[in-house]
């Protein structure tokens, strides 16, 4: 089955709820290796997104995603603002004008988001960043869609892969972003960015 605008809006609403619920958790993770503001920043950004969504409730999916992107870049504050902002903007551009998304379109959108984050942050897999969750998620989604699994199954696979990637950031030494200032001391901590990516992907299932 396909995902229409209503599904996308529901996912964004669920994402905002999850980020609000998990705000302190994300901030605690960030306190260990960052500026202790990731939860606060993401919650503030998605609260602003919620305020903005009614103005694009009748728009196509590309426009909705681009609006999320521009809102995040002007409200999140930390580096996750331009990173998530770029992700949503690139996905929105890749899906411009679409009224509904087939599973393959979701792969296209998430691939664009991943490439955007990698380009903006000059990051690769293994550097203890958002990329470590998003990259395996995109791969898992692609494989699931290619083998004809349902959208729910494919999203479940993507969420599980993101979670595994997120957990795999724990032993890593950060080489990108604020945590890289800590060098070896960044090891033994779960990356907050990889965690918020996982929460957002998981919200796609819960939103149904």
């Amino acid at each position: 089955m396909a995902a229409d605008r209503v599904c996308i809006l529901a996912w964004l609403r669920r994402s905002a709820e999850v980020l609000h619920e998990q705000r302190d958790y994300l901030t605690t993770l960030d306190a260990a290796i960052g500026d202790a503001d990731h939860g606060i920043n993401m919650d503030r950004g998605f609260t602003a997104v919620m305020d903005k969504l009614p103005s694009v409730a009748e728009a196509d999916i590309g426009t909705i995603l681009k609006t999320v992107g521009t809102t995040l870049v002007s409200t999140v504050g930390g580096a996750s603002g331009p990173l998530y902002g770029t992700a949503f903007l690139r996905a929105g551009t890749a899906l411009a004008g679409r009224q509904e998304l087939q599973p393959a379109d979701i792969v296209t959108g998430l691939e664009a988001a991943l490439e955007g984050i990698k380009a903006r942050g000059h990051a690769q897999v293994g550097e203890k960043t958002m990329v470590d969750a998003l990259s395996p998620a995109v791969e898992a989604l692609k494989v699931a869609v290619a083998s004809g699994e349902s959208l729910e199954e494919a999203l479940y696979a993507a969420g599980a892969a993101a979670e595994a990637g997120m957990q795999a950031t724990i032993p890593l030494v950060a080489t990108k972003g604020r945590a890289s200032y800590l060098g070896e001391r960044s090891a033994d901590h779960q990356d907050p960015g990889a965690t918020s990516v996982t929460l957002l992907l998981r919200a796609a299932l819960n939103g149904k």
């Binding site: 521009t70 870049v73 930390g78």
Partner: protein
């Protein structure tokens, strides 16, 4: 006119303070615009503020963007990417330190230096010794 400057900081007050300092150096001959804080006034950087500041600072001779930490540079890069080619080619982000870079860039711009010269000088401001005895 002259090359304009945009001061991007996570703090609105810090950005305004750097503008104040740089303006004193330029004696009102240079457009120096602050882009600090998020849209709702929190600590952080805002694409909208940075974009608007670049437009305001641009008199046609180009804009040098000075940034503080981390996401400030990312947001400045995003701002550039949305511009049409002509404008993008006359906006440059400096890797220089915020305060020294802004002061040096302001004076360079005030004496009519080109965008290239302004940015090169702002970048090189990292070499300034703060403690005169350590030259």
């Amino acid at each position: 006119m002259a090359v304009g400057l945009v001061i991007v900081s996570h703090s609105a007050r810090l950005a305004e303070g750097v503008v104040e300092l740089a303006e004193q150096m330029a004696h009102g001959n240079v457009r120096i615009i602050a882009a600090g804080g998020t849209d709702d006034g929190a600590l952080g950087t805002s694409l909208m503020k940075v974009t608007q500041a670049i437009f305001t600072a641009d008199s046609g001779d180009g804009v040098a963007v000075l940034v503080d930490l981390g996401s400030a540079a990312l947001v400045a890069e995003m701002a550039l990417e949305q511009f049409a080619t002509a404008r993008r080619q006359r906006v440059r982000i400096s890797n220089g330190p915020l305060v020294e870079g802004a002061v040096v860039a302001a004076v360079e711009a005030a004496v009519g230096a080109s965008l290239d010269e302004v940015v090169t000088s702002a970048d090189a401001a990292v070499e300034l010794n703060k403690l005169s005895k350590r030259t």
